[in-house]
């Protein structure tokens, strides 16, 4: 198929491209923003891009159920990560009165 056609009409390449671009945006958010909560949101974006890619491949391999099962586990892990990560942010705020991760540079040389 014509790659552009595939892109525009929901072919596999399109989904994968969306996933990758979403990942890049998520990474950029993590690198660019200083607030811990913004960085967390970037991480969620990256996770979701992985989800998209995973489920796209599952569909294009004949509706494999394992893709969805794995997706389930990713959600579980993401939830755990959210809980613990936000707890960390609260803890950081308690110590430094700020969520700016640039202020958390005690390991600086």
């Amino acid at each position: 198929m014509n790659p552009v056609h595939s892109l525009l009409c929901g072919g596999l390449q399109g989904y994968i491209l969306v996933a990758l671009l979403l990942f890049v945006i998520g990474l950029f958010t993590v690198l660019n923003r200083r607030s811990a909560l913004m960085q967390f949101m970037g991480v969620e974006l990256m996770l979701n891009s992985a989800n998209v890619a995973l489920l796209a491949f599952a569909r294009f391999r004949g509706g494999d159920v394992q893709g969805t099962v794995f997706y389930l586990f990713i959600i579980a892990v993401a939830a755990c990560e959210a809980a613990v990560g936000l707890a960390l942010v609260v803890g950081l705020f308690r110590h430094r009165q700020t969520t700016d991760t640039d202020r958390a540079d005690a390991l600086k040389q």
Binding site: V30, T101, D102, D105, K108, Q109
Partner: protein, 637 residues
Amino acid sequence: MLKLAWLIPILPLLGCAFNGLLGRKAGKAAVTVVALGVMLGSLALAGLAFFAAKAAPGGRLDLFYFDWVAVGHLKVPFGLVIDPLSSVMALVITGIGTLIHLYSVGYMWEEEGYARYFCYLNLFVFFMLLLVLGSSLPLLFVGWEGVGLCSYLLIGYYFETDFAPAAGLKAFLFNRVGDLGMTMGMLALFAAFGTLTVSEILVQAGHLAPEAAVGVLTFATLMMFVGATGKSAQIPLFLWLPDAMAGPTPVSALIHAATMVTSGIYLICRLAPVFVLTPITLTTVAWVGGATALFAATIGLFQRDIKKVLAYSTVSQLGYMFLGLGTAGFAAGFLHLFTHAWFKALLFLGAGSVIHGMHHQQDLFKMGGLKAKMPITFITMLIATLCIMGFPGTSGFFSKDEILYLTYLKSPVLYVMGLAGAACTAFYMWRLMGLAFWGTPRDHHAYDHCHESPATMTIALSVLAVGALLAGLLGIPKVWGGTFAIEGWLEPALTYGRAGAEPAAEAGSAGLAWGLMALSTTVAIASGLTGFLIYRKGTASEEAFALKFPGLYRVLANKYYLDEGVEAFLLAPVRWVSNLLWKFFDVIIIDGVGLNLPGAVTRVAGDLTARAQTGRVRNYALGMAAGAVLLLWIFLK
């Protein structure tokens, strides 16, 4: 039975070990018994060896013990050679050595390091015997270095003073300079002959035509002579001997009169067949010896320390021995070594007796009138003085005159130098005697407490005096009806390995011999008498002379300022260059560029690299992202 000859050097070594390790605990009596015992044992064995060698075929015993070095082409055996030359030297070392050990018992009894003294002295005898008895040059060199070491140890015996250790070091360093020459000589001889065993060298040398391989041999013998110069205190390496008087007097007698300093002469006699092939070296030896004989004698004229006079006298007399060797009169030079050993040891021991009696007063200007208080010392020193000035009939007369006769045949200029040296010798010896034993005492306190030395010391003096008188019997010349026995006696050693006919003997007439003898006797007696007459009245004349010719007096009394010259022209520039090298090369280049620069660079680089450790998570995340980009780029290329 003959193989027991190895005990000759080993007995003193055992004595050294005992005295060194157990001496202090064992006590002075035990140390004395052991030290003297090993010496007597060694003497007895040396005597037996002497007779055994005489009876053996060829007049020599070659004893081989084991292969010491066997590397490639170099084979050095560990062996002893007992031939006329080495057995006489061994007897001198052990004989005079035993007498000096006996003397030291009395002299050193009050000293703190009694056991240490005898340990070093026995060690010295061991090394000296190795030197003379060794069958190969490396073994000789072991002894050579060893006696240098013992000289250092014994000169620096009073190590708590400032002066003695420095003097010991000075002696050792001057010896080392000579040792460099000795080593190069040995290497050259090895290159020429392919062996370092003396007998093999001599046999090969004997078969060489006189003109063959002269270049290498001349170099070798010259270098050997440089080594001899260091050990035997000739110009220019004699400056250590006067300073060596800082050691105890018996040490000066044994080491710096009778034995160690004669190593150089012994070496040349040992290698006589090789030296005969190199007339250039022999001429050099003669001229250096003659110059030293005169030069040192002039310095001895106005010294105030009694031991310093004798030290310069030793340097001068060693010069005479080299003068004799340089005229190819090896037997004559060796005879002078033999006679000198007796009377110089006697002179030193007598001086020690005087110093001991005057409670360590060494300045001649403070002595006087001692002949009444110390009769035995006086008489024995008188005998020795007659010997050294060459009074007719004494041993010194025969040996010195033979040398002067041979010198005249070689070069009249050298003869004049030798004669002038003899005149100075007589003068300063009678100056010494006059100032010490005649006249009114100048230090009344010391004079009142002065007494004759104990028996251990006077016995040694007496035996040496008899020996000094009789030693001349070996060298009664033909013109007197004798046979110049020493020459025939030494011939097997001096001409070992010679294949062809003997070289023609020097031409000379009986009339010339008598004439020269008369001349030298007259000169010696005249100057000796002058010295005696001037100085038996005291020091007034010398002080007047010093006022009239202050420059000359000061130059002679301060040994031509040679030590100062060495310091200024040799040592100070070396120190300056070293300082420069230190300040510039060591500090700036090696420390700065070599050590500190890499350190600084590392530190700076580290500091710069540490800037990447910001402690911020996003910076680290960026690093990971950048790495991922790089990897992807590599994989997708």
